[in-house]
C-alpha cells in the first residue's frame, strides 16, 4: 500500500516528499505574494498607499476603478491596445503561414539560411533599431498612430510566429500530402485544405504568444505613441503619474490586474502547447 502511494506521487528512492512540497510551496508563495499585494494596492484608497508606515490591512475602496474610467480615457487606451494587437496578429499570420509552409515542406537552395535570417531578427534588441524606426515612422507620418504600433508589433513577433508554425508543420506526415497530390491537388490547395487544419493548435499557440508579447511591448510604444491618442495600456500605465499627485499606484495595479485576467484564461486554455511555443518549437511539449 505504502509502495503504491509512493509510486503514484512520483516519489523517488531517497527523496523526501516534505522537502519537495516545502520547495514547491515556497516558490508558489513567492509567486503569489506580489500578486496579492497588487490586488490590495488596486483596491485601497490613495491615502493608504504611501504612508510613513506601510499599511498591511487597508480599507476597501473603489477609488481606482472610478479614476481609471472617469479621469482617464481608459476606454480609448483599451481600444488602441486591442486594435493594435489584433491587427498585428493578423499581419503575422498572413505572412507567417505561407513562409512556414515554404520552410517546412519544400526543399530548395538557401532555405536554411532564409529560415535562420527570420529567426535571427528575434535577437535584435529593440533599442538598436529604435532610433531608425522612430525616424522611419516620422517620415511616413505614422507617429502617434495605432497603425505604426500594429506594424511594429507584427515585425517583432513575426520571427517566432513563423518558427512555431514551421515546427508544427514539420510534424505532419509526408504521406498525407502525397495522397492529396496524387489526387491532383496543387500546393496552395494542400496548404489550405490539409496543412492549415492540421496545424491549427500551433497557429493558435503562436497567436496567443504574439498577443502576450504585444501587450507587454514597452520601448517602441513609448517612442511611437507620444500622445494619449495612441497610448496602449502598457504605456498608459507608465504615464499614470499625475504631476503633483505622484505616481497613481492604485490605478496602475488595478489596470494591470484587469489586463492579467483575460490573458491568464487564454494561456490556461493553451497550457499544453505553451512550452513548445515559448521555445519556437525547439521543445516538443
Amino acid at each position: 500500500m505504502a509502495k503504491r502511494r509512493g509510486k503514484r506521487r512520483g516519489k523517488r528512492r531517497g527523496e523526501s516528499l516534505t522537502l519537495r512540497y516545502a520547495i514547491l510551496g515556497a516558490w508558489a508563495l513567492f509567486c503569489l505574494m506580489p500578486v496579492l499585494w497588487f490586488l490590495s494596492i488596486g483596491l485601497r484608497p490613495r491615502t493608504e498607499i504611501i504612508t510613513p508606515q506601510p499599511i498591511y490591512l487597508p480599507s476597501f475602496s473603489l477609488d481606482a476603478w472610478h479614476m481609471i474610467w472617469e479621469d482617464w480615457p481608459m476606454a480609448r487606451y483599451l481600444r488602441n491596445s486591442v486594435a493594435a494587437i489584433i491587427g498585428s496578429v493578423v499581419i503575422d499570420l498572413v505572412l507567417a503561414i505561407p513562409a512556414a509552409y515554404s520552410l517546412s515542406r519544400f526543399e530548395y537552395r538557401g532555405r536554411d539560411d532564409i529560415g535562420f535570417y527570420i529567426l535571427s531578427t528575434r535577437m535584435m534588441a529593440p533599442a538598436i533599431v529604435a532610433v531608425p524606426i522612430f525616424f522611419l515612422f516620422r517620415n511616413l507620418g505614422l507617429l502617434d498612430t495605432i497603425w505604426a504600433l500594429m506594424l511594429i508589433y507584427a515585425a517583432i513577433n513575426l520571427s517566432f510566429v513563423t518558427w512555431i508554425i514551421r515546427s508544427y508543420m514539420l510534424d505532419i506526415p509526408k504521406e498525407l500530402e502525397d495522397a492529396a497530390k496524387t489526387d491532383g491537388a496543387g500546393e496552395l490547395r494542400i496548404l489550405w485544405e490539409i496543412i492549415i487544419p492540421a496545424v491549427l493548435p500551433g497557429i493558435i499557440t503562436a497567436a496567443v504568444i504574439a498577443m502576450i508579447f504585444a501587450i507587454n511591448e514597452f520601448l517602441f510604444t513609448l517612442l511611437i505613441a507620444s500622445t494619449p491618442e495612441a497610448y496602449t495600456m502598457s504605456v498608459a500605465l507608465a504615464n499614470f503619474t499625475g504631476g503633483s499627485d505622484g505616481i497613481i499606484y492604485n490605478a496602475i495595479a488595478l489596470v494591470a490586474f484587469l489586463a492579467f485576467l483575460p490573458v491568464f484564461l487564454v494561456v490556461v486554455a493553451i497550457q499544453k502547447h505553451l512550452s513548445r511555443g515559448l521555445t519556437m518549437g525547439a521543445v516538443k511539449g
Binding site: 516519489k11 519537495r20 504611501i50 513562409a99 533599442a127 496543387g186 496552395l188 517612442l223 518549437g281
Partner: protein, 314 residues
C-alpha cells in the same frame, strides 16, 4: 529575392495563377521552382524593412552629428567618442553583470523546481501557479516593485519587523541593492519561462532508461545528473539563449524603477541608447552605440544561436 535565374515571363502572374483550387498539372517548371521563394518572400521582405533598413540607416547616421539641425558628417568621431565613454562601457558592464546574475539564478531555480515538479501528480497545478508572474505587464510589475522597495518601503519595514535590520535601508542610494531589485523583479517574472520549458523536457524523456538506472540501484540525484541533465542540455541552451536575449534588452524595469541610477550603476545598454537618443537628442551618437550592439548581436547569433537551434532540433 533569390528567384531562379531562368525564370521567364510565366513568373509574373503567379499570384493569380496560384489561387487555391486550381490544379497545377500543366504548370511550367520555373513556376514550380519559384513557388517556395514566393511563399517566403513577403515575410522576409517585411523583416528586412525592420532590420536591414534600420541597419543601413543607423550606420549612416552614426557617421553624422545629428542634433536638431541638418546632419553634419563627422567621420568616425562618434565611434572615437564611444571608445572613451565611461558611461557606454559602464552600461555594457552593467548589462552583463545584471543579466548574468539574473540568468544563472533563474536557470538554477527553474531546474530545481522542474526537477521536483515533473513527476508530481499536481504538476499541472504547479505550472499554472508558477506561470502567473509571467502574465503581468512588465511595466506594471516594475511599478509594483518600485512601490514595495522604494516608495512605500514595505520590504524595509518587513525586514525591520522580522528583526533582520534595525534601521531603514536606502535601496535607492546603493548600486548593488538597486541592481538587486532589478534582478529580483526579473527572476520573479521570468523563472516560470524556464520552468515550463524544463518541465516539458523532463516529461518528454524516456522513462524506461530512468527505470533501468533505478533498478541498477542508482540514486535519484545520480539519475538526474547523469541521465536527465545531459538529455536536456540542448533544450536548456535554447531556453537560456532566448532568456538571455530578453535580459540583455531589459528596458522597462530600468526606465521605471531605477532610471539607471544611482551613479549610472544600473544603466543597461538599452537605457543608454534611449537616454542618448531620446533624452539628449544626440541621435548620431546613439546610432553609433546601436551599430556596435548590432555588430555584437550578429557575431553572437552566428557563433552561438545558429548552432544551438540546429542541435536542439535534431
Amino acid at each position: 529575392m533569390n528567384k531562379p535565374a531562368n525564370s521567364h515571363a510565366g513568373a509574373t502572374p503567379v499570384a493569380s495563377a496560384c489561387a487555391p483550387g486550381r490544379t497545377f498539372r500543366r504548370r511550367s517548371k520555373c513556376l514550380r521552382n519559384a513557388l517556395p521563394y514566393l511563399l517566403v518572400a513577403p515575410a522576409v521582405l517585411y523583416l528586412m524593412l525592420i532590420t536591414l533598413y534600420p541597419g543601413v540607416f543607423a550606420v549612416t547616421q552614426s557617421f553624422h552629428e545629428v542634433k536638431f539641425g541638418p546632419w553634419k558628417p563627422v567621420g568616425f568621431a562618434n565611434y572615437a567618442k564611444l571608445l572613451g565613454d565611461h558611461q557606454f562601457w559602464g552600461a555594457l558592464r552593467n548589462t552583463f553583470v545584471i543579466g548574468s546574475i539574473s540568468l544563472v539564478l533563474q536557470c538554477l531555480i527553474a531546474l530545481a523546481l522542474a526537477f521536483y515538479a515533473y513527476r508530481d501528480p499536481w504538476v499541472k497545478g504547479w505550472r499554472i501557479v508558477f506561470l502567473i508572474p509571467m502574465l503581468f505587464m512588465p511595466s506594471a510589475v516594475a511599478f509594483i516593485y518600485k512601490l514595495a522597495f522604494l516608495d512605500a518601503r514595505v520590504i524595509a519595514d518587513l525586514l525591520i519587523r522580522l528583526g533582520f535590520i534595525d534601521d531603514n535601508i536606502g535601496f535607492q542610494s546603493s548600486i548593488w541593492l538597486s541592481r538587486g531589485i532589478l534582478i529580483l523583479a526579473d527572476v520573479w517574472q521570468w523563472t516560470p519561462f524556464l520552468f515550463i520549458i524544463f518541465v516539458a523536457a523532463l516529461q518528454g524523456q524516456d522513462e524506461e532508461i530512468e527505470e533501468a538506472a533505478r533498478l541498477d540501484g542508482a540514486s535519484w540525484y545520480a539519475i538526474f545528473w547523469n541521465i536527465s541533465l545531459p538529455m536536456m542540455m540542448p533544450v536548456i541552451i535554447v531556453a537560456l539563449i532566448l532568456r538571455a536575449i530578453d535580459i540583455t534588452t531589459m528596458f522597462a524595469n530600468v526606465f521605471i524603477i531605477t532610471k539607471g541610477g544611482p551613479a549610472f550603476g544600473t544603466e543597461t545598454i538599452s537605457y543608454f541608447i534611449y537616454r542618448t537618443g531620446f533624452k539628449f537628442f544626440n541621435f548620431g551618437y546613439a546610432s553609433a552605440a546601436s551599430v556596435v550592439m548590432l555588430f555584437i548581436t550578429i557575431v553572437v547569433a552566428q557563433l552561438v544561436v545558429k548552432r544551438a537551434f540546429v542541435s536542439a532540433r535534431s
